[in-house]
């Protein structure tokens, strides 16, 4: 009987240790910019170029994550990229003339959407659209512009 008891205790400890290891892995090594809110509202924004923005990218305002991107699609009528994003319902006082730009976290980091508050008295709500947007910076375009500028500078 004594032996069965020690087997049971050993097995129990082993399984508990395994479960806590799994728990540690799922909670401590992942995450970072995880966004979870029970109540959200969805808004849309059109961008000329979204760069490498992906669904689940964070939406942040003043550096705080307030939502995330749920979908990126191409609108064949306006010929622009349409980005759908959800924002936590507790932030229901964001002016609807706020400006959305696609930014990069760090030098090689992933892209996210930064919102810059506007001055309007009406607020973003379910289904509204952000009109002022700024595209992602594409490195090749930037280098191209730089080359053109330095070329014309040399002629003078």
């Amino acid at each position: 009987m004594q032996q069965t008891r020690s087997v049971e205790i050993g097995t129990g400890l082993f399984v508990l240790l395994g479960m806590s290891a799994l728990f540690f892995m799922t909670t401590q090594t992942t995450g970072g910019e995880k966004f979870s809110a029970s109540e959200t509202f969805e808004v849309e924004a059109s961008f000329e170029n979204v760069g490498s923005l992906k669904p689940r990218a964070p939406v942040s305002m003043s550096g705080v994550t307030i939502g995330r991107v749920t979908g990126v699609s191409f609108d064949p009528v306006t010929l622009e990229a349409k980005v759908r994003l959800i924002i936590d319902s507790q932030y229901d006082q964001i002016p609807d003339d706020s400006d959305a730009s696609i930014l990069t976290a760090g030098l090689l980091g992933s892209q996210y959407i930064g919102l810059q508050a506007g001055g309007s008295e009406t607020y973003l709500e379910q289904g509204s659209e952000i009109y002022f947007t700024q595209s992602a910076i594409v490195l090749e375009n930037l280098i191209g512009k730089f080359l053109v500028n330095s070329g014309s500078g040399g002629d003078e």
């Binding site: 069965t4 097995t11 240790l17 090594t29 992942t30 995450g31």
Partner: protein, 257 residues
């Protein structure tokens, strides 16, 4: 010349036959599994203890040093690009997605798989399995199924423990010894490890657990009932498990990517 062809034909035929009976054996174990868990959970728990809890020491020691060496190598090589801060990312992704499941499966084959197959092989060699059949006890259900289930249950836990001790080892080496910033270590890791990566590791650990315990039980059950046969079965367990785990690892990674 004709003899050669006949040999090849016979060998190929034998291979297909073995493979087929292996599948049937798997199905037999699966069919008896739910009943064993419900009726005789004590037997399964005993095997979880034998294969899982008793493997803890080797798993934790190896995990610690694998994580430590990853931390060292990661630090030394990332320092060339001034990217030491990413060492947490490198270690965590390597451990969670690849090294955790694969090395644990190899260690499992060496520690628990050999024990299983030699135990079962010896039971067969000393006619214990036949004696059970004489008493109308089904040896597949009474002996093989609990051992198979014990391995399948312990494997994911062993992998998780291996990965966590590995992270601890990497933390000790890179943060405490090589003075990588502790905040950078964890934050870089958390930014780039996704829940999908962990799912990949868990799927691998479940598949490897099934494969490793199935092969161990199979080899033991089909051992030639002599001292030499049991020894050969034990060796085959390790060799075949290692090969199948590495091939399956490649296939799962290719599918999940």
């Amino acid at each position: 010349m004709r003899g050669l062809f006949r040999d090849i034909y016979n060998n190929a035929f034998e291979f297909v036959r073995t493979f087929g009976s292996f599948q049937l054996f798997f199905l037999r174990l699966i069919r008896h599994s739910p009943r064993m868990v419900l009726r005789r959970p004590g037997l399964v728990i005993k095997q979880v203890y034998n294969t899982g809890a008793l493997s803890l020491v080797i798993i934790m020691v190896c995990g610690f040093f694998v994580g430590g060496v990853l931390g060292l190598q990661g630090y030394a090589n990332l320092a060339r690009f001034n990217a030491e801060d990413s060492v947490g990312t490198v270690v965590a992704l390597a451990l969670i997605k690849e090294l955790g499941p694969v090395i644990t499966a190899l260690l499992f084959a060496g520690r628990a798989g050999t024990a299983l197959s030699s135990e079962i092989g010896l039971m067969k060699a000393t006619d214990q399995l036949s004696a059970m059949e004489m008493m109308a006890v089904n040896p597949v259900r009474r002996v093989l199924v609990p051992r198979f289930l014990g391995g399948v249950i312990s494997m994911p836990f062993l992998v998780a423990i291996f990965t966590c001790t590995g992270l601890f080892g990497a933390h000790v080496v890179s943060v405490d010894l090589l003075s990588v910033d502790v905040g950078a270590f964890w934050q870089q890791m958390q930014l780039s490890v996704d829940i999908d990566d962990i799912r990949e590791g868990v799927i691998k650990s479940i598949v490897f657990g099934i494969v490793a315990s199935l092969l161990a039980v199979w080899e033991g059950y089909n051992a030639v009932p002599t001292a030499e046969g049991v020894g050969r079965a034990t060796t085959r367990t390790v060799v075949i498990t290692a090969i199948s785990v590495l091939i399956l690892d490649f296939m799962i990674t290719a599918v999940m990517l």
